[in-house]
Symmetry: C2
Subunit: 416 residues, 2 copies
């Protein structure tokens, strides 16, 4: 056994400089695309005016590495240097001024698009680019295709079926918010879940979208709610019985933290028998779920926790090392690139190696079907070792500590 | 010093059997009221069909005590027997079949009303009844008047000013959800906050309402979100600077749990300086808040935590004994009535007496302005002692443990 960790970043981003999407876009949308580009440029100019030094500083210092946002060879260099062997790729490479996102905003804020044709056209353009990118070294890519399911179920199913056949595509992303469309608990979406299950493509939401129109420009409100909206589909799917009808379906919440899962599992499990006031609820949930809600985590629900906080690492046995997945957020400035190994050293130094292996890659490999044997030679070359992270290489997790972590099960006499 | 706890229930309910509201309602709404009553009766009949034994069992066994929902003398007997000296009174006494709620649903689901006239008429009818109820022993009552602020700001201000003059009225409740109206972060609501501040009336939301129209009948989804919607105004007020403009304003979230406050405080404080990715946020929040978000808890934000869970009691120093307030939820079946003292014995037995005194009454007294000296003689007669709760009467909280509870402040070098 090698002692190099197989680090799979469960959260990276890729995208062409906006104009570059033109050749991937059907010609009849080029006029609308011109308008979109003008809007984006105006927004960038505004942001530059507010924050010129920070933006140009980041872009100049990292010019070469940022090219990896769309150039697969540069991308591999960046991943290698960062100790990362594989990645799960979301859209919108430019998190600062939004200049490397799919046409019409079809990426992280897809739910805001009101015209279904633009939503699908923008998604398809990005998907074509993504398939090309993932065609280079598909064993280390996990492209997440864009599917605006709120707009059209049948068209979505066709896009999913096409994505399923492309090398290196390992997931689909749906709009974070359904807005005025059908909520994700509605059975009309079943063909979408069926297609994703059949294709072994986990369904994702990713932070970014929120009801900004309600915030009146108050950024603190956005911050306070930013994790809730992307997580919301998890319980809409769970409690409407989607994971009963599609037991192999996986739903992943990405870059929205993981801390909240600890309390959610406790509260949700409690409905199933936590005292006289909630026992009556268990009957009402019958037929919707067959296991404790917490037991769907790690089989149907996963968390792309990106650059986990220390507190989330402390809660790892509650949330589950089989649930949380590390991500570098490359090439976003709020991520760990290009200093991932030193950040891992700071945050994972005291952790057991088996937990670390799960959190950094093995859980992602299981969730996304990465071929560990194919990745191992690369890990030998670029992956950090326990020593690189300042860890005690002999330290292993204590099974009793793991078993007791979900404390409420014993308190409420739930499960085994 | 007496050793009897002054127990103030921060969550009780009162309401007339629905038909009884007629005499409190302006005559021009009587026709609409007939329709409303017919709807309610039909809903009750439906529920009875589903759950006859449970409903009639509860109503028969507790017939006398349930009369305290509207009869002040019976009510005092029930409070006395339950060890409670004062109470904060919300609408909707019948939590099972909804037959003791304000006209037109103007109580816990007021946000669902679409006609402003019906919203105000229903609220006014309940407020008249409530003022009568609170007129008996106003020193032990904290009536929470209903004000549907989403519909009309000026009319709301007039209702608040009227409520402010009524003995025993100690708060106002606003719709939990603003729906298609202005979000509570909007400065147009300032006259409402100004009136509440001037009248020393804390503003409340209470669990009950949620976007049920999105749930397609999946009760688990309601349970998973039930606490979030009532809590939501807290951060909309905080991060839009309402507590800067109205520093004496109090906002209370009632019967929506308290557990969530622990993570919210951590995450919100983090925006103010928790690392390189969020430091840039602090600048954007400037002018909106002048203290750490957690520091608004206990001064501007309070939690009517009702029948606290053991886990919430374990987190009491993070959430704050100066923030959380016990409530019996009388006369709802999910509350502790008529067995409050035995429940307190089970859950508070190991707690220090100073924490217990805060959680059971002193924090509520401070939040609502109850006169402790006026209540003390009654507490001598009916209030439980530490011995009644199985406590060690000499046990006091450890100030160092309290200071360290909000662990993130030290981790992030925040505050003192």
């Amino acid at each position: 056994m090698s002692d190099h960790y197989i680090v799979i970043s469960a959260d990276t981003h890729a995208g062409l400089p906006s104009e570059g999407y033109r050749e991937y876009l059907e010609a009849r949308y080029h006029q609308a695309f011109d308008d979109f580009l003008a809007d984006r440029q105006a927004r960038r100019d505004e942001l530059l005016e507010m924050n010129y030094e920070y933006i140009t500083g980041w872009e100049t210092e990292n010019a070469e590495g940022l090219r990896g946002g769309f150039d697969p060879e540069q991308r591999d260099k960046e991943l290698d240097a960062d100790g990362v062997v594989a990645e799960v790729i979301f859209p919108d490479a430019d998190a600062i001024t939004g200049m490397a996102g799919p046409p019409f905003g079809a990426g992280l804020s897809a739910g805001e698009i009101t015209d279904p044709d633009l939503a699908f056209a923008g998604a398809a353009a990005h998907n074509r680019f993504l398939v090309e990118l993932c065609g280079h070294h598909p064993e280390r890519r996990g492209g997440v295709g864009l599917v605006p399911i709120t707009h059209d179920i049948e068209r979505s199913v066709r896009e999913i079926e096409w994505l399923a056949e492309q090398p290196g595509i390992r997931g689909v992303m749906v709009p974070t918010m359904w807005r005025e469309h059908l909520p994700y608990n509605h059975p009309d979406y079943d063909p979408v879940w069926a297609a994703c299950q059949a294709a072994h493509l986990p369904v994702h939401t990713h932070s970014g979208e929120a009801p900004q129109e309600e915030y009146n420009g108050n950024i603190g409100i956005y911050l306070a709610e930013a994790a809730w909206w992307p997580a919301r589909p998890a319980w809409h799917l769970l409690f409407s019985g989607v994971f009963e009808r599609f037991p192999e379906l996986k739903f992943v919440v990405t870059e929205s933290g993981a801390y909240w899962a600890a309390d959610f599992m406790w509260k949700w499990d409690q409905y199933m028998g936590g005292g006289h006031t909630t026992k009556k609820m268990a009957a009402l949930l019958e037929g919707k779920i067959s296991r404790l809600p917490s037991e769907y985590f790690g089989s149907n629900i996963f968390i792309g926790a990106s650059t986990m906080s220390k507190e989330e690492l402390r809660r790892r046995y509650i949330i589950g090392c089989d649930v949380m997945m590390w991500g570098t957020d490359y090439p976003h400035p709020e991520g760990t690139w290009p200093h991932t190994v030193s950040r891992l050293r700071a945050d994972f130094g005291a952790l057991p190696v088996d937990d670390t292996a799960d959190l950094l890659g093995l859980t992602a490999a299981r969730c996304y079907g990465f071929d560990l044997e194919a990745l191992r030679p690369l890990a030998e070359r670029v992956g950090p070792t326990p020593e690189d992270l300042g860890q005690d290489p002999a330290l292993r997790s204590d099974p009793e500590e793991v078993r007791r972590a979900r404390w409420w099960k014993e308190d409420y006499g739930l499960g085994g």
